[in-house]
């Protein structure tokens, strides 16, 4: 029974990674850039929700709405100021500005909230699910997290396949030049991608901090890296890949924490990533690109 409980909390952690990984994977697929600041957007979202819920004492749903709004604006603004001028530059240059943005967000948060950990009030206030006569307790946060992840995945797939802007996103990720010749506004499409990714980051932040309530300016960076790992694991650019990568990573992390060593769990996660990439160099669901001479 304890295995099952570790497994379920692993799936729930993995679901958070998957939601964050979506932001990485969409931005990478469309703008061909590694958005290193994505993890810090999660942190900003969590702080906004924390302020609304704990400081102003409003309903958690209003908090989440405010967090989503703030992160969407933040994502679009950052894209406009820091990334768009470098659209035609080398990918390394954009990587460096993303790192700069990451430092910037962390230090702004540090100035406003200080470096001490804040206690995040869970946005989920449902009773835990007790099964098998009290032997298996599944936290309500885990259930809400897994359900939200599934809803987000379905909604996003529908959005990309059924709407005009979603099709535009696919076209831009396929071939930016050809897409703009077909009359697609590339800049607008990329801005929408950032908006969606950042909005998802706020939701991920709320779920992450509900499960792990200590909130500091550096809260987002390690989950950000893990989610990025999940995105690469599943095949970067692929939405189902992000889901698979996130869940697998979360389960491995939780099980190795429980059964092997809590200090080595990160090392085990990364080792699995390396093994997978050596067998499938573009991730589980990644497309292989053949080079032409």
């Amino acid at each position: 029974m304890s295995f099952l409980s570790y497994f379920i909390s692993g799936v729930s952690l993995g679901a958070v990674y998957a939601i964050i990984a979506l932001g990485y994977t969409m931005v990478y697929g469309i703008a061909r850039m590694l958005n290193f600041a994505h993890g810090d957007v999660i942190m900003v979202g969590s702080f906004v929700i924390f302020t609304v819920v704990s400081t102003f004492g409003l309903n958690p749903l209003i908090g989440i709405a405010a967090g989503v709004l703030a992160c969407t604006l933040l994502g679009v603004t950052v894209e406009r100021i820091a990334y768009r001028p470098l659209r035609e530059a080398t990918s390394l240059a954009v990587l460096i500005t993303a790192i700069g943005v990451s430092y910037f967000l962390q230090n702004v948060a540090l100035l406003i909230f200080g470096s001490n950990a804040h206690q995040f009030t869970s946005v989920v206030s449902l009773p835990n699910l007790v099964l098998a006569g009290g032997n298996l307790i599944i936290s309500s946060t885990a259930i809400v997290t897994i359900i939200s992840c599934i809803i987000i995945m379905i909604a996003l797939t529908a959005f990309i396949n059924r709407t005009k802007i979603g099709q535009a996103m696919l076209a831009v990720s396929e071939d930016r030049g050809a897409a703009s010749l077909m009359g697609i506004d590339v800049n607008k499409t990329i801005a929408v991608t950032f908006a969606i990714g950042s909005a998802l980051a706020a939701i991920a932040g709320a779920l992450l901090c509900s499960a792990y309530p200590s909130l500091t300016p550096y809260t987002g960076s390690m989950p950000g890296i893990k989610a990025f790992t999940a995105a690469v694991f599943g095949g970067i650019g692929s939405i189902p890949g992000a889901l698979i990568g996130g869940i697998v990573l979360g389960v491995i992390e939780n099980l190795s924490k429980a059964y092997i060593s809590s200090q080595l769990s990160d090392a085990i996660v990364f080792a699995v990533l390396i093994i997978v990439l050596l067998v499938r160099p573009t991730g589980i669901l990644g497309r292989k690109i053949n080079e032409k001479v």
């Binding site: 990478y28 590694l34 820091a82 080398t90 460096i96 962390q106 090392a267 160099p281």
Partner: protein, 353 residues
Amino acid sequence: MTKNKVRIQNAVTYGMVILFWVVIQVMDKTGHLTSLFKGLLVPLCMYAILAVSLNLTVGILGELSLGHAGFMCLGAFSGAFLTNCLETAVPGVGLRFFLALILGAAVAGVFGLLIGIPVLRLKGDYLAIVTLAFGEIIKNLINVLYVGRDANGFHFSMKDTTSLGLDEETGVILVKGAQGITGTPRAATFTIGILLLLLTLFIVLNLIHSRTGRAIMSIRDNRIAAESIGINITKYKLMAFSISAALAGMAGVLYAHSLSTLKASSDNFGYNKSILILVFVVLGGLGNMRGSIIAAMLLTALPELLRGLNDYRMLIYAIVLIVMTIFNSSPKAIELRSVVMSKLRGGAKKEVA
């Protein structure tokens, strides 16, 4: 003609480093150095070495590596371990430090080779994330490593100090997991740092301007074309990668000997450190060793020089980073710069005429 140009360029780079050393010595003798700045001198050299060595991988070989801090960590720990082990056998601190430098570089170099064999088959961002993963694994493993020594020899453990099973009388714990290695003599000085930086430059610059270096750069520019003229891709990739790792290991030994306690913490050897070094390389210019040194030194000194601004210094650092990159790399900024430059030059020509 071009050979001469290369020689002049290299001489300027070496000269710049030596000039820096002279200026610091003069300032030190005349008492113009604050203690804050003195503490910064060894890290300045260390970051310059790290930046030059990473530039070999990123700028010359053209592969993005985010695991440089891992190699530095390996060098730091193997070097500090040796210095502490030989405490009784070799009394001279200088000699022990020298041996530690060689061992640190060798260990990091060998690991660079071992990691490079599987990793360098990957491309681009996949390579970047795998090198990041290796760096984190190295840091995590060293964090749970316990090593002790007694009359029976060395004991290793991944759990705690008691499971080492040391002899009570003769047992000494050398590596203490998350608490790391303590009691390393602080033998690293600014002069040694500068000498190591010059050595690094000598190795890297000579490599770049040799037949081997040209082979490495041809892989960067076009892998398939390079392969078609008979260049052994794997061999040259591995060579560049492991030399870069060995130099990072050497910088790690320098670092270990500037601290009394060495810990494999995230602040010291996490992926953020690797990213920091990458920032120096990119801002200094890919493939430009002189630029790497200047960027490493300026950006290391900047947060310290801004100390008067207290809480705002890292914020300013972040803004400087963003603005500098946009100014350096944005097509519009480059166009603007060339317009301004041509106007200035045009004006100058008219004056001459």
